[in-house]
């Protein structure tokens, strides 16, 4: 994996420990961290400001669903994947085809999922 274009990943995750995990993992997989957000509000602000190629979005942000963030990403044509402690269930119809990573995920799970996002795009 090269650090060329389309490798900046935005992290939407309310649990800072998991932000730290991704911050550690992503550079080892050839990605750069484009920023992180802990809430829908922060994420929407982050999207406005940042240069983002891909996004990893936790479904549940301190009890709130992150779907408005996913909608905004889709609007901008930024590929994203969901992470969740719940199963695949609970996602609205419109995200039925969105990739979902179940927590806790392994290093190669997120590697494969991000690679998939890039090629599919």
């Amino acid at each position: 994996m090269t650090a060329d274009a389309a490798n900046r990943v935005f992290i939407v995750e309310d649990e800072f420990m998991l932000v730290m995990l991704l911050e550690e993992l992503l550079p080892t997989l050839g990605y750069a961290v484009a920023g992180s957000a802990a809430s829908v509000e922060q994420a929407l602000t982050g999207l406005e400001a940042g240069e983002i190629d891909l996004a990893v979005v936790d479904v549940n942000l301190a009890g709130n669903e992150s779907f408005p963030v996913a909608d905004a990403l889709r609007e901008r044509g930024i590929p994203f994947l969901f992470t969740t402690g719940y199963g695949q269930q609970g996602l609205p119809e419109r995200f039925a085809d969105a990739p979902v990573l179940a927590k806790p995920y392994r290093r190669h799970d997120i590697e494969a999922a991000l690679a998939q996002l890039r090629t599919a795009h």
């Binding site: 649990e15 800072f16 730290m20 402690g85």
Partner: protein, 463 residues
């Protein structure tokens, strides 16, 4: 002698009729008798004589009392005979009697016999043993009373339907659907939840086709217009070998149970989410801890200690039902592994305030990192060292804020680390992320000082 159909004599029709009557009276199981106006028996058929256990000669000419009837019984018939004579109308009644057949119940009919002069000349009676019928009637009445009592007593909704369920009557029990009575023919559309209609009508079709009990759990619109869950069961009634004529059923209100099941399901989902999240946190701690050290034994010790404080934080939050936790307890949980018997090394001072679970967890982990650092390099590594932890409510930029200050004193001179480790990053960035405020971590020569400023809302600490 001239022979004529109208003439009297042994061969005449009149004589034949007498023989017919006599024969029938002798063979009938009913008791047949006649009293004269002095209340003496002038006739008793074979069945009556057998019941008395007397012969014709012993019985005829005697009144009831003389036959051996109880005085009250004899007196009753005396009155009745007088009444029939006076009114020229029949009297009917039933009475128990101890005869040769044991105690039986008799239904009797007394009627006047009118003589050629138009006057009552005697009173005739016919009596039938109705013991079996009476017993059967009593049993049935008792059974019906019990069934009615059961329907009244049950909290279930009791209903009956016709063979194809087009007519449904609420016959008793619960007032879930309001007053008892017949439902309108469109009950399926009006009363059954749209999502359950197919289920109910399929089950009705299946039950009818197989003549087996109807069983369904479904929602029904109750008297106050809300949906109630019921568990409904009905059995077919059909004559032996015949077609089903009707169904009887009962519906139990299971709304509470359904709500409980739903809560259980949500709770399990939430638990699953929390466990998965916690495992991911453990994964993150493992990665950060292993990466930071080349010494596996030291790395393991640190990992274990971080896992321990995470566990303690979970326990503390569980005691608070994962709603919110007092800051005081959060601090105590975080420093507990570093508190020794002397207990004088920490000074805690602050106002009562609660944090939500996620922020409580983040702060516990962060304070634990400060503690570990203080034990290894800072104030807690020296006998004289101590840590002040004070929190106050202050206004910053017009916002109500929580300010928590960690201040080490009396330790060896502090040398700022070359590189920010996991603990420092967790404190500086993690707290900012989770508490939404400002965090400063200063390695002053006199001791480490960490100041956390987080905006407050009414509930606790806002993001």
């Amino acid at each position: 002698m001239e022979s004529s159909p109208l003439a009297a004599g042994p061969g005449s029709p009149a004589e034949q009729r007498v023989r017919l009557y006599e024969t029938l009276l002798q063979v009938t199981p009913d008791l047949v008798y006649m009293w004269d106006l002095q209340h003496r028996f002038t006739y008793a058929n074979a069945a009556l004589l057998a019941m008395w256990g007397m012969s014709w000669d012993e019985a005829i000419g005697k009144n009831c009392l003389e036959i051996g009837y109880e005085p009250w019984h004899a007196a009753m018939h005396d009155r009745e005979i007088d009444q029939v004579v006076a009114t020229r109308l029949p009297v009917r009644g039933d009475v128990p009697f101890n005869g040769t057949n044991g105690r039986r119940i008799y239904d009797y009919l007394l009627t006047p016999v009118i003589g050629p002069d138009g006057e009552v000349e005697a009173v005739a009676g016919t009596t039938r043993d109705v013991t079996e019928r009476k017993l059967h009637e009593d049993a049935r009445r008792r059974s019906e009373e019990r069934l009615a009592a059961m329907v009244d007593a049950t909290t279930d909704l009791v209903y009956r339907t016709n063979a194809d369920w087009t007519e449904v009557d609420i016959v008793g029990g619960s007032l879930l659907l309001g007053a008892h009575g017949t439902l309108t023919p469109d009950w399926l559309e009006v009363l059954i939840h749209p999502d359950d209609r197919a289920l109910v009508s399929n089950e009705m079709a299946r039950a009818q086709a197989t003549a087996t009990p109807f069983k369904a759990e479904h929602r029904v619109r109750n008297d106050s217009g809300q949906w109630s869950w019921v568990s409904s069961r009905a059995v077919p009634i059909r004559p032996i070998g015949g077609q089903i004529t009707e169904w009887f059923g009962a519906a139990t209100d299971i709304t509470e149970r359904k709500a409980h099941e739903e809560r259980q399901r949500l709770l399990l989902d939430e638990l699953n989410h929390r466990v998965k999240n916690t495992l991911a946190i453990v994964q993150s701690i493992a990665l950060q801890t292993l990466k930071a050290s080349d010494d596996p034994a030291l790395a393991y010790d640190r990992f274990e200690s971080r896992l321990h404080v995470l566990t303690q934080a979970h326990d503390m939050l569980t005691r608070k039902h994962w709603v919110r936790a007092p800051l005081d307890e959060i601090v105590r949980t975080a420093i507990a592994p570093c508190v020794r018997d002397d207990g004088e090394r920490f000074v805690l001072q602050g106002f009562p305030i609660d944090l939500d679970p996620q922020r409580a967890l983040a702060l516990t982990m962060a304070l634990h990192e400060l503690c570990t650092n203080a034990m290894r390099y800072g104030a807690l590594s020296a006998e004289t060292g101590r840590v002040d932890i004070r929190w106050t409510r202050e206004t910053h930029e017009g916002r109500d804020c929580l300010v928590l200050r960690w201040e080490e004193q009396g330790g060896p001179p502090v040398v700022a680390p070359v590189r920010r480790g996991f603990g420092a990053r967790l404190i500086e960035r993690g707290l900012r992320h989770d508490l939404g405020g400002h965090v400063s971590l200063d390695f002053l020569p006199t001791g480490v000082v960490c100041e956390i400023t987080a905006p407050l809302n009414k509930e606790g600490v806002a993001a």
